[in-house]
Symmetry: C2
Subunit: 335 residues, 2 copies
């Protein structure tokens, strides 16, 4: 594909990317729903509803783009995009139980409608259905990438559980949690995509790194949005992380830069999990004063920059341009 | 191995079987603990404790015996026995959260000590660690057998969740739940064992059926023990199933045979989940009167008989004799 292809020239934002790969994404969507065919109809009901509840399919998109960047993607391999979305959804179902969350993406959570039992079990089902279906490809690389990502995601969740209400966590410790909890599945999406596209080992490694950097940027941006988000738009509540005892990058920066007595006060609030709206307003003001959100945003942008370096060796074209647009979108989701 | 080997002649009960395969089982045990090497130390702590808490390793034993029945088992493949034990343990961790159980095998449950969060996540970890490690064998048969068993187990759990407090469940529906929830992992243990021993496809299929029948017998015996168990010996509480709204085979039989008003009374009790010790005594008396426990025990014995037929084509020897002893043990665990 040449640089002056009209399609390439018209590719400027996320809407263009979604449009350009609509056919492949529709096939992913078809596979997502086609394989929710359990003999237990409750599984299909819950899975279908949660799978239809507005997930953006960023991971399947990255899989498709990575495959195309290295070569091409045959229709049968688009199923893999849906399996990664199953894994992602399984983690959301379990997370909502762990966080006792009532709302996700502006809708009632599955656990709120069907209860914790059903949410845990349907999460388990989506996970095992993904592992069953990926095994049917008889491709060791696929199996290993997905299983390894799942293991690291769980480790990340446990590391985070241990870090909760423990404000003395260091930035490297925090970044490891982000890598395991969020970035590994994004990396696996890109790596599996590169393997589908029959990329060389070096290309697969480059796209895996690209995905890892992108995943880091995604999570750090999410951390900032938790202190900035417009609840109506993102279906999130301001300060959800800190209210759950989660210390994320903006807060870690604030701890490094604020006065001792302020730090002690915030730490005691985090540990007690008794944060009023007034406390939150004070903490957010301190973050602005100390440029903590700017710091975390800059770190996210550095990861996006690193991701763009991972793409450099690849030839320009639709897929590369699209990946660059997705990268920018990762750090500009509220705009 | 010949029928008149002295070792074979001395093989008469479960203790002899455990002794005969002590070396292999010790290696399984070593692998169980060696691979609990997460970077999240809480995972290792919880996993180690629950893995050390008195599980009998029946499934690894069946894997070893199935491999030896078909041929032999190399040391490196004993790891697979530990992975099946990880999966089994993962289901126990999640079950205990779902059942709000405080005691298992006479000890406090993980969720009671470390909380529901940690129990769900460590369950997820054991599951994904098993899938990661099995993928490293690069054997599609292993991957597919284990992933398929996991998927069916989850479906069985959901079918059971839907059946809970629904006394109109039929016997075939109930047996499907038992097959999915319990028997498939036993079948997978035997099938993977047969594949390790390089059994023919027919031998692998025979051992898979053997495991399925054995798993059915195991669960139906468990159902009866719930109305018979000596709490001190088995670390179980009498009538745990019915108190949780679970209708198992003895109760299904009672519904078929008792008077209409008795059935209505029991059904209302099951649905309300308000079963006093006095109610339970009445229900158990009715079961004895209507031979419901005898019926369920006979069904379990039929499955053991079917399992023994699955073994018929195999040559006699230590492994076959041991599998026969394990089969009998499955329906005589309280003796």
């Amino acid at each position: 594909m040449s640089g002056n292809s009209p399609t390439l020239q018209n590719l400027t934002n996320m809407a263009d990317v979604w449009d350009a790969y609509r056919e492949e994404l529709n096939e992913v969507e078809l596979q997502v729903h086609k394989n929710l065919n359990s003999e237990a109809s409750l599984i299909n009901t819950i899975s279908s509803q949660i799978m239809a509840s507005g997930g953006k399919r960023i991971r399947p998109l990255l899989l498709i783009l990575s495959a195309k960047l290295c070569g091409f993607i045959q229709r049968e391999y688009l199923l893999l995009g849906s399996l990664i979305e199953y894994i992602h959804t399984a983690t959301l179902l379990h997370d909502d139980v762990l966080d006792e969350a009532d709302i996700r993406r502006g809708e009632k959570t599955a656990r709120r409608i069907w209860g914790n039992h059903a949410s845990i079990l349907v999460g388990d089902y989506l996970y095992s259905q993904a592992m069953t279906q990926i095994a049917s490809f008889h491709n060791h690389g696929f199996n290993e990438s997905l299983a390894d990502a799942c293991r690291k995601m769980t480790e990340g969740e446990v590391l985070q559980l241990c870090a909760n209400s423990r404000p003395e966590i260091t930035e490297p410790e925090y970044l490891q949690i982000v890598e395991y909890k969020t970035a590994t599945l994004v990396a696996a999406s890109c790596k599996i995509g590169a393997a589908i596209g029959e990329g060389t080992p070096a290309e697969q490694a480059a796209l895996s790194r690209f995905g890892l950097n992108l995943g880091m940027a995604f999570q750090l941006t999410d951390d900032c949005l938790d202190y900035l988000a417009d609840g109506a738009r993102l279906g999130k509540t301001l300060g959800k992380d800190i209210r759950q005892g989660m210390v994320t990058l903006p807060l870690l920066h604030l701890f490094q830069t604020c006065e001792d007595d302020q730090r002690q006060w915030i730490k005691s609030k985090v540990q007690s999990r008794a944060i009023t709206d007034e406390d939150l307003t004070t903490i957010i003001s301190l973050m602005h004063e100390h440029h903590s959100l700017t710091y975390a945003t800059q770190r996210a942008e550095e990861y996006v920059k690193a991701a763009s370096l991972d793409l450099e060796p690849f030839a320009d074209g639709m897929a590369k341009r699209s990946l660059a647009i997705v990268s920018q979108y990762m750090v500009n989701r509220d705009q």
